[in-house]
Symmetry: C2
Subunit: 467 residues, 2 copies
C-alpha cells in the first residue's frame, strides 16, 4: 500500500485540538517525541507519526474522544503496548493515537467463576502477578508483555494456545466504544450463551477497526498442581512433528510445545548463554497433577525416542522453567543479535498439522538456498510457525529478498489450506494475502466495516487495502 | 410477538413457483402434510406453515434458491432436523422452508489434523458412527440427534461442553450462501487464524438470519483410552454444585457433569425403568488414560463424600454408559410423560458458577410455590440449566403461569450477570430478553442484520422483534 499518502494528511482542525485539550488537558500530546513513539513499529515497517497522542483513563473519555473524531473526521488508532508486528497500530492516515496503556485497573476477579474483568491497558504479566495468590492464572502468552486490549484486538495466542486456546476462546465479554461513541457490552459473564450474534468474537481480532475495546472479561484457569518443562533435540524435523501428532492422538494435553530450528537454537544459545545441541528442538511443558504429569512425560519421552529425539533436559524447578521460557521468549531478540544493527521482519503462517513438516521443510530449504539469516520457530501443536527475517534496513535488495521469500512462504501455506497469519493479524503487511486466502468472503468483511464505521475513522487503512 | 400476521402472507408469486419447480422438480412441495412438518415446533409454539418446502442437495441449489427468493422478496428459512426449541425454524412470515436434511455427505475426514468437513444435513450420530473406526469423535452433544448445520446455526452445546466447548469452539470454517446468493467460505482449515474478522463466529449462532450454512468444517478429538461414568445423589443442591466447583479448582477435566433435580429423577426413573434415589443428582463422565481416570474418580469421589454425596453408581462398560446417558438424553420425553397429553416448554438460562446454586434454589422454590410440573436439569459445569414446564396446551391459565415463571427465571439469571439462553438461542421465544440482557448492543446486531440481509429475506422475524 502507498504509505506516502500519509504525508498528505490534513492538519488537525483547531476546534478538534481545542476539544481534545478540554477533555485530556496535559494528556494530549502534540510534540514529536511522544508522536514518534506511537508511530514506530516493532518490526520492519516505516515509522509514520500520528498528528496527536492522547492517554485515556476511562471508557467515558474514550467515548468522548471518538465522538470528537467522528465530528471532525479525524482517524483514531487504539494503541496499547505497541508490540504488534504487522504495522497494526501504525497511523497510516495520521489522526490521533489513542493510548490506553494507562488504563491499568483490574476491576474484578471472580475466583469461583474463573474469570476477571480488566481495563484494556492491563498487561498480561501484571494480571498474572495479581492472580498468583488466588491460585489462578491467565494462560495466553504471545511472548511480549502486551496489553490485554491489544491482545484482544489482534486475536493473540502464543505458546499456551495448544492447550488453552487463543484470545478467541479466552474472552468472555468486552466493553467497546463504537464509531459513533456508544458504550456497549457484548455479553454477560456466563461461560456460554446463545443470545444473538457473537459480538464478542466480532470485535476480537478486528484490530481496532470496528470499535475501541476498553474493558475485557477473561476466562482464567487454576494454576496446575505440577508444571514440568523439558527440551529435546531431534535428528529430523519430521521426527519432531510426528512426536507431537502422535502425542495428540494419544490424548496427551500438551500445555506448550514449541519448535525451534537449528538456526534459532544457535541464536538462543549465543544470546542466552546456553548450550543446547544445534538441532531442530522441541520445548515442552506439561501441566497436571503430579501423577498425571509423570504419565504424560513417560508417554512423550517414549514417542520422542522412537522418532529420533535425544535425551530430555528437564526443568522442573520454577527458576529453571523461567530460564527455559525466558530463552524461548527472547528468541526474537536473539535472532536480531545474529546481525547487530539489522531489523527483524517476523512473519507467521498456520497450516493443518498434517502439512506442517512439509511446510517448514520446504521453507527452510528456500531460506538456505537464498542464503538469508532467518531463524524458524513456532507453536508446533497448532501448526503455526514464524520466520524471522533479519535484514539490513538500508538494503533495498535484502528487503526485496525477504519480501519474495515471505510471498513464497504464504503461498505455500495457502496451497496447504492454511492461513496467511496464525496470530500476528493482517495490519498493513498481509492485506493482499487476506484476499488470496478468503476471496469473496473479504467483501463480507468490507460490508461489516462499512456498517460499523461508515466514515472510516477507526484505524483506517488496516486489514483491507483502500479503495 | 404477533404471530397472527402470518395469516396475512402474500401468496407465492407464480413466477417464483415456476422457478423453484425448474430448480427442484419433485423436491418442491406445496402440499399441506410436508408444509405442516416444517411449521411445527418441538416445543410449545404454535404451528405456522411455510408456503412451500424445498429439499436442497447442493450448495449450488441453495444459492439458486436464495437468488430466486431475493428477486421475489420471498422469506427463506433454513431447516435441518427441526429439533430446535425456541421456534427458531418457525416460518413466521411464511415463504419457503429450505430443508437441508438430505445434504448428508461427509466430504472429508483428516484424521491427522483432527478435523472433518460435512454437509449441513449430516446428523451428529451419523458423523460419530462414521468416525468411530478412525479413533476419533465429535464431542458436541445437545441430546437431540440434530443436524450439524442446525447445531452451528444455533450455537448448540450440551453435555460435553464443559470439557470440549460449544459449537463456537468446534467449528473451524463454514461454507455459507449469503442473502444475495454468493457462495463463500469463512476460513481455511488451520486450527487458528488472525486473518481478518471472525466470519465463522459471526455465522455460528445467527439462526439462519445472516446466511445459509451449507458445509461445516469441524474439530474432532481422539476417542479417550478410558471412559467412565457414574451417578451420585446429594443431600443438598449446594453440595452438588460445590463438588463441581471444587473439582474444577483442582483442575479435574470433567468430561460431562449433569445435574437433575428430584422431580427430573422421578421422571427418569419412571420413563426409563430405573431406581435412582429421588435426590438432586449428578451424572458424571470422566475421560483419559486408565490411570488418569482412576485419579480423577478418586478426587471427585472424595469431594462428593465431603459435600453430602452418596455412593457412586458406576457405569464403566459401554452398554451401561449408553443406558445411563440414554436416560439423561430422554429426560425431556420423560418429563412430558409426567402428564400424558401435555406439551413441553423447555427454557434455559446460564449464570456464573458462583451464582448457580442460588439461581437453581430460588427457581425450584418458585416452581414449588406455583405447584407446577416442571423438572430442572442442566449442565452444571457451565452454569447452564433447563426448566421443562409441562403444561396443558388447552389451558391458557397454565400457559400464562409458565410464562410468568419463565419471566422470573430469566430476570433472576440476568440479575446474576447471566444470559437469557445458554444454548437454545433466541428464536421467537426470547426476543424481549435479548434486549433486557444486552441493551444497546442489540442495536449493533440489527446493524449487522441490515448490512447482510437488507431486504430481510433470511429467516425474518427471528432474534429481533420486528419494527
Amino acid at each position: 500500500m502507498d504509505l506516502a499518502s500519509n504525508l498528505a494528511n490534513a492538519p488537525l482542525p483547531a476546534d478538534f485540538i481545542e476539544g481534545a485539550r478540554t477533555l485530556f488537558g496535559a494528556r494530549l500530546h502534540l510534540g514529536e517525541a511522544v508522536r514518534e513513539a506511537h508511530g514506530r513499529s516493532e518490526a520492519h515497517f516505516a515509522t509514520l507519526l500520528p498528528d496527536a497522542v492522547v492517554f485515556a483513563h476511562s471508557t467515558e473519555e474514550v467515548a468522548a474522544l471518538v465522538k470528537l473524531c467522528q465530528r471532525s473526521g479525524v482517524p483514531v488508532v487504539a494503541f496499547g503496548a505497541g508490540t504488534s508486528i504487522e504495522g497494526n497500530t501504525t497511523p497510516v492516515r495520521g489522526g490521533v493515537s489513542l493510548d490506553l496503556s494507562e488504563m491499568t485497573a483490574i476491576l474484578e476477579v471472580n475466583a469461583e467463576d474463573f474469570d476477571c474483568t480488566v481495563q484494556a491497558g492491563v498487561r498480561r504479566e501484571q494480571l498474572n502477578e495479581h492472580l498468583r495468590d488466588r491460585g489462578l492464572f491467565f494462560p495466553i502468552d504471545p511472548g511480549a508483555n502486551a496489553t490485554l486490549g491489544g491482545m484482544s484486538a489482534t486475536r493473540a495466542s502464543g505458546t499456551n494456545a495448544v492447550r488453552y486456546g487463543t484470545m478467541r476462546e479466552a474472552v468472555l465479554s468486552l466493553r467497546v466504544v463504537t464509531a459513533d461513541g456508544r458504550d456497549i457490552r457484548t455479553a454477560r459473564r456466563a461461560r456460554k450463551s446463545a443470545a444473538g450474534y457473537d459480538l464478542t468474537r466480532m470485535f476480537v481480532g478486528s484490530e481496532g477497526t470496528l470499535g475501541i475495546i476498553t474493558e475485557i472479561t477473561l476466562r482464567l484457569h487454576p494454576i496446575p498442581e505440577t508444571i514440568s518443562a523439558a527440551v529435546c533435540g531431534f535428528e529430523t524435523l519430521a521426527g519432531a512433528v510426528d512426536t507431537v501428532v502422535q502425542a495428540t492422538q494419544l490424548g496427551v494435553p500438551l500445555a506448550r510445545v514449541e519448535i525451534l530450528d537449528d538456526a534459532q537454537i544457535r541464536a538462543v544459545n549465543r544470546y542466552s548463554n546456553l548450550s543446547y545441541p544445534e538441532l531442530t528442538t522441541l520445548f515442552f511443558e506439561f501441566h497436571g497433577t503430579e501423577r498425571y504429569v509423570a504419565e504424560q512425560v513417560e508417554t512423550v519421552s517414549e514417542l520422542a525416542a522412537a522418532n529420533g529425539g535425544g535425551d530430555f533436559q528437564w526443568a522442573t524447578r520454577p527458576e529453571d522453567r523461567s530460564k527455559l521460557w525466558k530463552a524461548r521468549h527472547e528468541a526474537y531478540y536473539a535472532a536480531l543479535q545474529l546481525r547487530p544493527g539489522c531489523v527483524g521482519w517476523p512473519t507467521d503462517v498456520c497450516v493443518p498439522m498434517s502439512r506442517l513438516a512439509q511446510c517448514i521443510g520446504e521453507t527452510k530449504q528456500d531460506l538456505l538456498d537464498a542464503g538469508i539469516v532467518a531463524p524458524i520457530l513456532g507453536h508446533v501443536g497448532d501448526g503455526n510457525f514464524h520466520v524471522i527475517f533479519v535484514i539490513d534496513p538500508n538494503s533495498p535488495e535484502e528487503q526485496a529478498q525477504a519480501e519474495q521469500l515471505n510471498r513464497r512462504l504464504v503461498k505455500r501455506a495457502l496451497s496447504m489450506d492454511g492461513t496467511c497469519t496464525g496470530e500476528h493479524g493482517i495490519g498493513i503487511g498481509k492485506q493482499d494475502w487476506l484476499v488470496e486466502e478468503l476471496g469473496e468472503a473479504v467483501e463480507l468483511m468490507r460490508t461489516l466495516k462499512r456498517a460499523f464505521d461508515p466514515n472510516d475513522i477507526l484505524n483506517p487503512g488496516k486489514i483491507f487495502s483502500r479503495g
